[in-house]
């Protein structure tokens, strides 16, 4: 088979977009767009890394900070939300053995996230709107630094993403609880109670003989609980966006509202409460749920200590509502008791809940020895390692004493955030992509195992290495969110840049491998209208 033929039609011409069900097509679209936005986030990261080594003359300071603002939002919303939502909109009906409640709503989520991300990215690029994702009040309303029109477009883009998120939330919960046509009436209330953990909690206080059976599987319960945080987070971000838009529109119309009308500390508290529902809520819960699903799919065995795992997911949900204060340990006006209780003690629970998920996943894998070191298994181990490194780094900085010398340094963003996101989260998602790839593509063949191996090692070494060198810079005083002009931390930044280059190469190898597997025609075919109108998840010959 010629190279050109493989490039156009995929490995052995196995993949055909025409044979996909609407559900497969929808999920694959999410994955493709998510990967493209991941690529943009990586390139943005590399541009900023180069800028930290030697400021690029064509890129002004304001542009650097606009990239710094867009980078995490493109990474989280454009990439991670796309891949996670696409996968879960497929997996919830797959695991519940019933059709998705609404494919149309799922497609709306896809377009809203895709277009919304594009709008805020372009708005930031053109207008240099750069209050960072933290939006510390009253910075987003500082119109001596930022153009309110560009800002309004930026916020509108974020609002579209959040609207898509709300549609995702509705679709997930409706899929769990609704009764498909021709089915016996489903116990909606009981399904919902089990999914969010209420019935499991009640079981703890019932005699063993009176305990109720679980109605939803553990991965679905994890998705449902993470989705609760997703919904709350969307509410907070939408509310904040409206508040900022009010100030922007007023300014455009010639009325300047008083910035002091909003208390900066109160704002910081509730905005971090909302943001933490992502960082310390849905990410950790979704990741734990995905680990459990992957471990059971890889081994074909039951999960070790399943009931404890369910309880830990519920604890994690409650913990995620009460940990935000660890972001305010350096705010001297923040009450001391909040710093200790929410910032330190409750945050320490994350070590326990994530540690439990780590142990349970490893124990499940151990029970099925010997295992073949498949792509999904090696990426799962990489994901586990990422969180094993990043969570303790986070627990250390969530300490009043250590935070005094770590807050806003590269330590926070390196060993904690980037290792958690790039190694922990991304490798878990890659594991899910590798395991779902044959299911979603009706058995398409992977083009090259050597490329998959390179993808794994380059990503793992690049991710951990970048986090490590950023961490060393942070321990030596290098701040995040600023520019160093005198090459103070060049050694660390060059080494981190080399590791970032490895991450980029890993991504390119993966992208090339996938394109060669399904072909250019296959990728383009995903975005054509589906001829197949079935509500089934998979075609009849792939079930």
């Amino acid at each position: 088979m010629s190279y050109i033929n493989t490039l156009m039609n995929g490995e052995q011409s196995v993949f055909s977009a025409k044979k996909l069900t609407p559900m497969q097509r929808m999920t694959l679209r999410f994955v493709v767009v998510g990967l493209l936005y991941y690529g943009i986030a990586v390139i943005e990261g590399m541009i900023m890394r180069i800028y930290q080594i030697e400021p690029i003359s064509v890129l002004g300071e304001s542009h650097f900070f606009a990239i710094l603002t867009a980078h995490p939002l493109v990474g989280i919303f454009g990439s991670t939300y796309s891949i996670v939502f696409g996968a879960f909109l497929f997996l919830v009906p797959f695991l519940m053995k019933k059709p998705l409640w609404s494919i149309r709503l799922a497609n709306s989520t896809f377009w809203l996230i895709t277009i919304g991300t594009f709008i805020f990215w372009v708005a930031g690029f053109v207008s240099h709107f750069a209050p960072l994702y933290t939006l510390y009040w009253p910075l987003p309303a500082d119109f001596s630094q930022f153009n309110p029109v560009g800002g309004a477009f930026f916020i509108a883009g974020i609002a579209l993403v959040m609207l898509g998120t709300v549609f995702f939330v509705i679709n997930v919960f409706k899929t769990i609880t609704y009764t498909p046509e021709g089915w016996e009436k489903q116990p909606a209330g009981a399904l919902m109670a089990d999914a969010i953990g209420y019935s499991g909690l009640r079981n703890l206080f019932r005699k063993k003989s009176k305990q109720k059976e679980h109605l939803v599987s553990l991965p679905v319960a994890a998705i449902a609980r993470g989705t609760v945080d997703t919904a709350l987070n969307a509410g907070i971000i939408l509310f904040t966006g409206v508040l900022i838009l009010v100030y922007m529109v007023s300014h455009i119309m010639g009325f300047d509202l008083k910035e002091s009308a909003v208390d900066a500390l109160l704002y910081k508290n509730w905005f971090w409460w909302g943001l933490d529902l992502i960082a310390d809520g849905l990410v950790l819960i979704f990741v734990a749920g995905t680990w459990y699903l992957l471990a059971t799919m890889i081994t074909g065995k039951k999960l070790f200590m399943q009931n404890i795992a369910r309880a830990a997911l519920l604890v994690e949900l409650i913990v995620s509502w009460t940990v935000w204060s660890h972001h305010l340990l350096s705010d001297q006006a923040q009450p001391g008791w909040l710093k200790i209780v929410s910032g330190e003690l409750v945050t320490a629970f994350e070590l326990i809940t994530q540690g439990l998920a780590f142990f349970i996943t490893l124990a499940t894998l151990w029970s099925a020895r010997p295992l073949k070191m498949s792509n999904e298994l090696k990426f799962l181990l990489g994901g586990l390692l990422g969180f094993a490194l990043a969570v303790p780094a986070g627990i250390m900085q969530a300490d009043i004493g250590l935070n005094r010398i770590l807050h806003n340094t590269q330590w926070i963003i390196g060993p904690h955030v980037h290792v958690a996101v790039l190694v922990g989260l991304s490798m878990t998602l890659y594991s899910a992509i590798y395991i779902l790839f044959p299911i979603l593509t009706n058995g398409a063949k992977l083009y090259s195992q050597k490329l998959a191996n390179f993808h794994f090692w380059a990503h793992l070494i690049g991710g951990i290495g970048m986090g490590a060198f950023m961490g060393m810079a942070g321990l030596n005083g290098m701040l995040r969110r600023t520019i160093y002009y005198e090459g103070e931390f060049n050694l660390y930044m060059i080494l981190a840049g080399i590791c970032g280059g490895l991450l980029l190469l890993a991504f390119l190898a993966f992208l090339y491998n996938i394109i060669m597997s399904v072909g250019v025609k296959g990728v383009l075919g995903l975005f054509q209208a589906s001829e197949n109108k079935t509500k089934d998840l998979l075609p009849a010959d792939n079930q």
């Binding site: 910075l139 350096s330 151990w366 010398i405």
Partner: protein
């Protein structure tokens, strides 16, 4: 009071040891599960011991730091501690305004830095001449932002905003403006 660089050194050693250990553990696990042998269940006592260890580590970290890092109890109780010297500093339009051209501190003094912002959220940090950080805090408009610090060794420090306040705030730096003198 011990210097914050010593605490950073301790943290570096502790985290590096942990990171190497956990990388080796996962590496070993990856090799072990692919080797010939029979799958066996992990014992429950091992699981509960692991949970217990996590609880002990999570709680003891804060107890240890409270009792070994001297600025923690001082920070939490700073309202009841009389400072030997107070510096009132204000920030507006991305500029620090200091009470004196150079802030001189005598060895052993407990110094209160009271920083007021009149517009945006900023940061306030002292940095050594090798760019490493002595300490920092956030500076929120409309609130009291004060930090008490005891200086026990001679040194020259740079003030730098440690929080992003827009592109105009990228270079909020006053070089070598705090001087500690008189230590032997």
């Amino acid at each position: 009071m011990i210097d914050s660089s010593l605490v950073l050194w301790g943290q570096t050693v502790a985290y590096t040891c942990y990171a190497v250990a956990v990388i080796l553990l996962v590496g070993w696990f990856g090799i072990a599960i692919t080797k010939k042998g029979k799958g066996s269940k992990v014992s429950k006592p091992l699981f509960y011991s692991f949970v217990g260890m996590l609880v002990v580590i999570g709680v003891s970290l804060h107890i240890v730091t409270y009792n070994t890092i001297p600025w923690v109890p001082m920070d939490l109780d700073r309202a009841n501690i009389k400072a030997d010297r107070v510096f009132e500093i204000s920030v507006e339009k991305h500029q620090f305004m200091l009470p004196e051209e150079e802030l001189i501190i005598e060895c052993g003094e407990k110094v209160l830095f009271n920083v007021t912002s009149y517009d945006l959220t900023y940061g306030f940090g002292l940095f050594r001449q090798d760019n490493s950080m002595l300490f920092q805090m956030q500076v929120i408009p409309g609130h009291v932002n004060d930090i008490l610090w005891e200086f026990n060794s001679n040194g020259v420090y740079t003030i730098r905003s440690t929080e992003y306040s827009g592109p105009k705030g990228a270079q909020m730096i006053i070089k070598d403006v705090v001087r500690v003198v008189g230590c032997e």
